[in-house]
Amino acid sequence: MNKEPLILYVEDEKNIRHEMSEILSLDYENIIIAENGQDGLKMYQKHNPDLVITDVQMPYMNGIDMSKAILEINKDAKIIVITAFNEDSYVSKAKEAGIKNYINKPVNINDLFSSINMILSN
């Protein structure tokens, strides 16, 4: 078995953040959490996680801008963006920024875990 992966989860909304971190902890042990894009970027620089899962709409740097900044640091960084259905413009922005993986809200956690597995096994 590989070394346990480190996952950075970025979400500003308290309830969602809480639920998602509990869900992620069901399968993964090492999870670090940030409340906005700025903090997320700092934590990425500090901990160099194997995977970043981020919400899009957040104060102080949104998920897309944060992802762009991360990809500039590490062009092979693995990022999953969680977007709402009505945020089509963010999806295209995410694609432009070179983000290949995104999941729609409301999140189906089976889909989320298969995406995580797929990305991490690559």
Partner: protein, 636 residues
């Protein structure tokens, strides 16, 4: 016209003064003399139109003054005397200035009246010309003087032929003619004059010495009006002339009135419906206007009954008409008449009953106007007003309906915003429990904790529903509420949407401003303005979007000012934002009803004022509301 002047010569102070007052009141300039000496002195200095001469004076006979008066050629002397001696009277006329005698009466009033009537008669004689036809030079001169003094214009002729030429040349009103004359005698002249229809009214008086009754009869038969035998008494001649000319005057007046009456008749005939009824309401005359209305131009059958033409709806009016006529009154009403082209005709008719001196009805004159067109116009107008009212009402209903739909859309949008996150949380929670259970990791603690949390979230969600329901509830009555509470209500609902768009909302408020208002309606207005501000900030991609609400009050009003920093509203748009259906937004976003309804609510429902301005950074909406409800029945 200059004032006529009169010299009164009478020694009786009573008579003299009484006459003076009376004549002055009638507009004459009056001078008084009480004896011959005084009169002479006055006559040397002044001229007069008339002299009233008493014959018995203290210093001599009034007749002695006549030569003095004769100096003034134009003077007309009226002699006041109780002397009825015929020869003496005749003698005084020979001075050529005496125009008549007034008999002294016991009652001054009668005497004054006689004098004034005589003077008035003379003044109306100036427009009349009398032709004097006589072969005697003396007679012509005598009559000329006499008639001139009487006020008439005089033309003379020496025989019948000469007279006919004068009649052609001058406008002759009356003729005095001798019978025996060379060339053409009086009888032939009278016949010739009366042959011309233009002279039918001309009075002719024959003056002749003839005693042959058949001659007199013949000339009267041929058209002469009167006969006076020569030699005549001047007073009698004057009386006859006066009578003849008075008749002429009244005949002319009658003719004039007849002509005028004819013109009136014609004017009414042309302008209105005009007909006459006899006492049994049978039509005895009807003009073209009535015929053309009732029977398309076919004239009304004479003696047909007026009631035959009446529509059933006017039967009651007919009864009223009969009652009015029985009371000698005229009657006016709108009658509906049957017409042969099935369309009924409405006519406003005025019935004027005419009664003879015995108060028996002999004719009813009816004048009327067709008012069908007027009624029709009124009906059309009425219809148009009704249509317009209905259209306005429909439009208003549509506006309210659309406004409701728009509000509902907004509400759903806001509920979406409010519920998106709790729904996401719940969704995640169930999936979490499911996964934990499958992985045998579902601990009691996780289950309890999650259940508690789910209940909390769901409670929160149902509170949101209650808030919204309250918010959109129709205000049943005015309530005294804190403006801060009303504002908060609106803010709470829009806050999630503002947060999504990263717009900061600040509320600055005076503490505890309580006003009577329709709470939810005011809340909706505030939210509408907030939503507009938010949309503007999003549309213009304003960084650091900000909305500031300021609540305050002055002496009579409380105000809520909502400022944004979206750059403001273009001036030409600003004028139109309160019009219904005006919108700057894309089709799916704006209904254009929000601000119109907001203004309606603030100004129409709550007696306040809603205004929009531009500030340096954006738009500013000001809501003013009276601190006290003007209406006395203030509900708490």
């Amino acid at each position: 016209m200059t004032k006529q002047s009169i010299l009164i010569i009478d020694d009786s102070k009573l008579i003299n003064n009484s006459l003076k007052t009376s004549l002055e009141n009638r507009g004459f300039n009056v001078t008084q003399a009480f004896d011959i000496a005084q009169a002479k002195a006055i006559l040397l200095k002044e001229e007069f139109t008339y002299a009233l001469l008493d014959l018995i004076l203290p210093d001599g006979n009034g007749e002695d003054l006549l030569p003095f008066l004769q100096i003034h050629e134009k003077i007309r002397v009226i002699v006041m005397t109780s002397d009825r001696d015929r020869d003496r009277r005749e003698h005084l006329f020979s001075y050529g200035i005496v125009i008549d005698y007034i008999t002294k009466e016991r009652h001054f009033h009668d005497m004054e009246l006689a004098i004034v009537q005589l003077i008035e008669r003379i003044s109306t004689n100036f427009s009349l010309t009398i032709l004097v036809v006589d072969d005697s030079n003396f007679m012509r001169n005598h009559l000329r003087i006499l008639l001139s003094k009487r006020g008439f214009q005089v033309v003379d002729a020496i025989n019948g032929k000469d007279a006919l030429e004068k009649i052609k040349k001058f406008k002759i009103d009356a003729t005095m003619v001798d019978l025996e004359m060379p060339v053409m005698d009086g009888n032939r002249l009278v016949t010739a004059i009366k042959r011309d229809k233009a002279n039918l009214l001309m009075p002719i008086m024959v003056l002749s010495g003839t005693t042959e009754p058949e001659k007199i009869a013949r000339v009267i038969k041929n058209g002469a009006n009167d006969f006076l035998k020569k030699p005549y008494v001047t007073e009698e001649l004057l009386l006859k002339i006066d009578k003849m000319m008075q008749e002429l005057k009244s005949q002319r007046l009658l003719r004039e009135q007849e002509v005028r009456f004819g013109l009136y008749n014609k004017a009414i005939d042309e302008a209105a419906i005009f007909f006459k009824l006899d006492k049994n309401l049978k039509i005895i005359y009807s003009n073209q206007a009535l015929s053309s209305i009732l029977a398309n131009g076919i004239s009304i059958t004479k003696n047909s009954n007026f009631a035959e033409y009446l529509d059933e709806t006017s039967i009651d009016s007919l009864k009223e008409l009969n009652e009015a006529i029985n009371e000698f009154k005229s009657y006016q009403n709108v009658f509906e008449l049957k017409s042969d082209n099935l369309k009924s005709v409405k006519i406003r008719l005025t019935f004027t009953p005419l009664f003879d001196t015995n108060k028996s009805l002999y004719e009813i004159i009816v004048i009327g106007f067709d008012v069908s067109l007027l009624h029709q116009k009124e009906e059309i107008l009425q219809e148009r007003v009704e249509m317009e009212t209905k259209r306005n009402w429909d439009q208003n209903r549509m506006l309210i309906q659309q406004s409701k739909m728009a509000s509902m859309g907004e509400m759903i949008g806001h509920i979406g915003h409010q519920w998106r996150q709790p729904l996401n949380s719940l969704s995640l929670m169930f999936q979490k429990l499911n996964r934990a259970y499958k992985k045998s990791m579902l601990s009691d603690e996780l289950m309890d904790q999650s259940t508690q949390k789910a209940i909390r979230i769901i409670e929160q969600m149902s509170k949101t529903i209650n808030d919204f329901r309250d918010f959109f509830k129709i205000d049943k009555e005015w309530q005294n509420v804190k403006l801060s509470v009303v504002t908060e209500q609106a803010c709470n609902i829009i806050e999630p949407a503002l947060q999504d768009n990263r717009i900061r909302l600040t509320v600055n408020e005076d503490k505890d401003i309580v006003i009577p208002c329709l709470k939810n309606e005011l809340s909706q207005v505030i939210m509408n303005i907030l939503a507009n501000a938010m949309d503007a900030i999003v549309l213009k991609k304003v960084k650091d979007g900000e909305i500031i609400i300021t609540i305050g009050h002055n002496k009579s009003s409380a105000y809520i000012i909502i400022d944004d920093n979206a750059g403001g509203i273009p001036e030409d748009t600003l004028k139109k934002i309160f019009e219904p259906y005006f919108t700057t937004k894309e089709k799916e976003n704006g209904t254009g009803i929000g601000l119109y309804m907001s203004k309606e609510i603030i100004e129409g429902h709550m007696n306040g004022k809603l205004e929009a301005y531009n500030t340096l950074s954006g738009a500013s909406f000001k809501i003013y509301l009276p601190l006290k409800k003007e209406n006395k029945e203030k509900s708490l």
